[in-house]
């Protein structure tokens, strides 16, 4: 999604639950929207950087997951206007720290350090990084793009799969239940 024509008002209106408030801090919004290399809007290199970012935030995420970085460009999650700037900032900080501008080629420890650099930067940049971490964690752990798939890493099945009542409770509740204080659950 192009961001070149967006006004500040447009951007503020688009900010949603996952990234609300990012634009309100100190880095001028023109930097967010315009002052980054346009090459980062190209899909493949950008995708590689973002996948590397998700694998930095969640080091055991499934590398082959096709949806690993999808949320960053999802207009409904409102990070898309910041995607290009965020990628360029990751690479700029990668180069400053290691001499290698390709963030995705760094080791996990190096990538982690780069992300920490971003979190320690000025307040708007820091919020772009906390927002990106939020997008990565929420989209991956919750499996938001496939209701049935869930997230194997955290043992989340996705939509309910009936495995019998024994999967929900224990057969010997008396072992667990404490003395009640009411006859029916309602306090007088």
């Amino acid at each position: 999604m192009s961001v070149q024509g967006l006004t500040r008002r447009d951007v503020l209106r688009r900010l949603g639950v996952l990234t609300a408030g990012l634009a309100s801090a100190c880095t001028p919004l023109r930097i967010v929207l315009h002052d980054y290399p346009s090459a980062f809007d190209e899909r493949d290199p950008a995708e590689r950087v973002l996948r590397a970012f998700v694998l930095t935030v969640i080091p055991e995420a499934e590398v082959s997951d096709p949806n690993l970085a999808r949320a960053f460009g999802d207009p409904d999650l409102h990070y898309a206007p910041y995607r290009g700037f965020f990628i360029s900032d990751l690479c700029r900080r990668a180069e400053a720290r290691t001499g290698e501008a390709a963030f995705e080629r760094l080791s996990l420890a190096q990538r982690t350090a780069v992300v920490q650099d971003g979190l320690r930067a000025d307040s708007t940049t820091a919020r772009l990084y906390t927002g990106a971490i939020l997008v990565a964690q929420a989209s991956y752990y919750a499996g938001i793009y496939d209701d049935k798939r869930g997230c194997a890493l955290i043992d989340f099945d996705g939509a309910y799969q009936f495995r019998g009542i024994e999967a929900i409770t224990y057969p010997d509740p008396e072992r667990f239940l404490s003395r009640p204080a009411t006859p029916d659950g309602n306090w007088v």
């Binding site: 900010l15 949603g16 639950v17 996952l18 990234t19 609300a20 408030g21 990012l22 930095t56 935030v57 969640i58 080091p59 055991e60 409904d76 999650l77 982690t112 920490q116 919020r127 906390t130 927002g131 990106a132 971490i133 939020l134 990565a136 964690q137 929420a138 991956y140 752990y141 919750a142 499996g143 938001i144 793009y145 209701d147 997230c151 890493l153 955290i154 043992d155 989340f156 996705g158 939509a159 309910y160 009936f162 009542i165 929900i168 409770t169 224990y170 057969p171 509740p173 667990f176 239940l177 404490s178 003395r179 009640p180 204080a181 009411t182 029916d184 659950g185 309602n186 306090w187 007088v188």
Partner: protein, 511 residues
């Protein structure tokens, strides 16, 4: 612009709106209900999903410093998405007083006055105490932790039939087992002649003449149309509704919004609109279960885990329950850190992965609901946007500290390793501490004994505005220390009964 004439206009379709709509329609009044959100067919539209686009279609939020209110917009209001916990407010709730020593509840409204209406509400929603063999694992484990310390713990009560424990209560029950209003009040109201218009937002209320001049009317046939409501439809159109009675049932946030927007037209409206919001003092804590304690389960079993402890109600003013948290709730609203884990980064990277891998089975989350004072405020800005604020004061800060310490003590004495839970805003920034996140906000247009202390009288009628009623959570003057839905519904039944009696509109037939 079209003008729709009706006897009763009910704004909202949730717990506070459904009872007046049903009872007045049953009594023969022409009733129109307005719902800002979309139509919901509970057998087609609900999903078992973590997709935020689905969730945000219905679930809305209003945040301010130190607090967040969550509420639903859609047919049935919060009833489609709540945890279906249905408990009566304890008697001591109605004895709360403000800082000046004045009672928070108006004279004559207490537990004994509400009990007959709780009976009706429970029958309508088929409320039952959960069976011993239905309690989800996390609820049983919580009960075991309380038992270990000699504390009481009770099986809670729910508006559900034949629950299979899928775990998706808060995205809507796709099986039709949760007794949301779509299965009882709303279809019965429609069968009695009520009309429901979804995608229609009430914007403002305008008196037709001086409503006080109509106060003497008791014969329903002679009551004139007294208010006009301007509404906006989701398709961009507008409409005007004229009615003898207007019943505000759009929830604590929605009702405050409409009345605040109507202040220029309702000249005698109390200054208390939008103020004195209580939020049930929800404080959360989490820990890792020690070896020897069986697994819980964060992802299956009904969303409220089946158990509630009243052990600390009289001593600390709180009840305690265990919580389940689906992945989107955890990753989308919190930063988790294992206390004592020296790794940096803490809430992301390998430290977070290690915690999330055991989150489902080995993390226990507990929370309190408490008798916190009505200290929050909603305001309507010149741009039409609502804002919320909370006066922490020393009392609320101290409440948060002591309650969190109590919860940590329960976990710690059981050998749990504490997991620090920090709530975040929509950009991932951590809120300053303390922070109250709740769906139990009540009281923005509270009932009181006089307009100097509230917005509506004990009958729910807005002071100096005959025929204008508040029947939802906005009318509830205090925190309840238990989930609020059943009390909102019971109070709405009480208000509806009062309207029927006042206008000799007959006796409701269904219950």
């Amino acid at each position: 612009m079209s003008v729709i004439h009706t006897d009763v206009l009910v704004i909202g379709t949730g717990f506070g709106a459904a009872a007046p709509a049903l009872r007045l329609a049953e009594a023969g009044a022409r009733v129109v209900m307005l719902e800002k959100g979309p139509y919901i067919n509970p057998f087609k539209d609900f999903r078992q999903t973590q997709d935020p686009r689905y969730i945000l279609r219905y679930i809305k939020g209003l945040s301010g410093d130190h607090l967040n209110f969550t509420y639903a917009e859609g047919l049935g209001g919060g009833s489609g998405f709540y945890e279906m916990v249905s408990l009566r407010a304890p008697s001591l709730v109605f004895e709360q007083r403000d800082e000046d020593g004045c009672p928070l509840w108006p004279s004559g409204v207490d537990r004994s006055a509400l009990d007959p209406y709780y009976d009706i509400a429970e029958r309508m929603l088929k409320v039952e105490q959960i069976g011993e063999h239905e309690v989800p694992k996390s609820g049983l484990v919580f009960s075991m932790l309380m038992k270990n310390l000699g504390y009481s713990c009770d099986r809670a009560r729910y508006a559900v039939q034949h629950c299979i424990g899928s775990g998706f209560c808060t995205t809507g029950c796709i099986y039709g087992n949760k007794q949301s209003l779509h299965l009882n009040y709303l279809p019965q109201a429609v069968a009695a002649g009520a009309k429901v218009e979804c995608g229609t937002e009430a914007l403002s209320i305008h008196p037709l003449g001086d409503p006080r001049s109509t106060e003497r009317h008791r014969n329903w046939l002679h009551v004139p149309e007294r208010y006009e409501v301007l509404a906006r439809r989701s398709n961009g159109g507008t409409a005007r509704y004229r009615a003898k009675l207007v019943v505000l049932g759009g929830g604590t946030v929605g009702t405050a919004r409409v009345l605040l927007a109507s202040r220029p037209y309702l000249g005698l409206l109390s200054d208390h609109v939008g103020r004195h919001i209580a939020m049930n003092g929800s404080v959360k804590a989490a820990g890792i279960l020690p070896e020897g304690v069986p697994d819980g389960d964060m992802f299956t079993g009904r969303s409220h885990c089946g158990m509630i402890s009243y052990q600390f109600l009289e001593s600390h003013g709180v009840t305690i329950s265990s919580a389940r948290a689906m992945p989107i709730n955890v990753a989308g609203t919190t930063h988790l850190r294992l206390a004592g884990d020296p790794r940096d980064p803490s809430y992301w990277g390998q430290a977070n992965v290690d915690l999330m891998k055991i989150f489902r089975r080995r993390v226990i989350a507990i929370y309190s609901l408490g008798l916190t004072p009505p200290a929050a405020t909603i305001e309507l800005g010149d741009d039409g946007r609502l804002s919320a604020s909370l006066d922490l004061g020393s009392g609320l800060r101290r409440y948060h500290e002591t309650t969190e310490a109590l919860l940590h003590n329960i976990l710690g004495q059981n050998g749990c390793r504490i997991v620090n839970v920090n709530f975040i805003d929509g950009s991932g920034r951590e809120f300053s501490d303390p922070y109250f996140s709740t769906a139990h906000q009540v009281g923005s247009c509270r009932m009181a004994d006089s307009p100097e202390r509230g917005v509506a009288d004990a009958s729910g009628e807005v002071f100096d505005h005959p025929g204008l009623y508040v029947s939802d959570g906005a009318a509830i003057p205090s925190s309840l220390a238990v989930n609020t839905s059943l009390t909102i519904l019971a109070n709405a039944e009480r208000i509806a009964a009062g309207i029927l009696q006042r206008y000799n509109l007959g006796v409701p037939t269904s219950s």
